[in-house]
Point group: C2
Chain length 161, copies 2
Amino acid sequence: MKPLAVDPLTRTAFAPFGDVIETDGADHFPINSATTERFHDLCPVVGRKTLISIFRGRPFALPIPIAMVERHPLGSQAFVPLDRRPWLVVVAPSGPDGAPGEPAAFLATGAQGVSYAPGTWHHPLIALEAVSEFLVVDHATADNLEEHEFGDGGWVIERLP
Amino acid sequence: MKPLAVDPLTRTAFAPFGDVIETDGADHFPINSATTERFHDLCPVVGRKTLISIFRGRPFALPIPIAMVERHPLGSQAFVPLDRRPWLVVVAPSGPDGAPGEPAAFLATGAQGVSYAPGTWHHPLIALEAVSEFLVVDHATADNLEEHEFGDGGWVIERLP
């Protein structure tokens, strides 16, 4: 297994893969007689039938093997933490043949969600520290899941920033 | 202002207005090699262009006047608390003329969101205790807002359960 470094999650670093869902740096305006500030339209939602679900993830402990990734070609998939705990985002670019290239790993704060753009290779949910819940906005569509197993045992995350 | 009683939020009581978004009592199944439990498709998402936003709400303090309600005829609108704090849900049935009838008020726990069905009269976001953030899934559509001011000064919430 090859070591995979983890960087802090930022909008710029994550832009090739989708969008970071956070209030920091987002467009916002007051609504409801200024009792509420709306951080508006934080990511595209793409797909045919939008679903709202909650994922309850078991925490992973270091070292974390990254043996596979998956993608949803026909729709976006957004994850937003409901417990304000940090979590791990692992994505990979698509090579010319469509297979995933070398993955990238990001440490998200508990105030950061992400939306994977359609067709973006990513590891399934990686909660940290404790059982954690995430609101998930994705799409009910047939033929919307592809999986890829890395050869050579894949990658391993040995430490966090 | 007429006093408006507050009940705990339950799926049954809220059914005429939309759906409660919570894991308790929801269908679920393991995914991701059983590292994640998916509480699946918790509410319908109805509308033309789905938006994901974060609303940051200032807390209301008792007594809370309910002078108006609004509705979105062309799409659903879901609110899920990101800070695990209780919050207030105020809705009203539509009378035969389409105007709101007597409102109902529900105290949601910090683990409960709601989705308002299209056309459901509701009060704008009422956070409690502290500034609180909510993930909001709604729809960008023209002509999707109606507002109604109650006569006689409306209603007032004087206490919580």
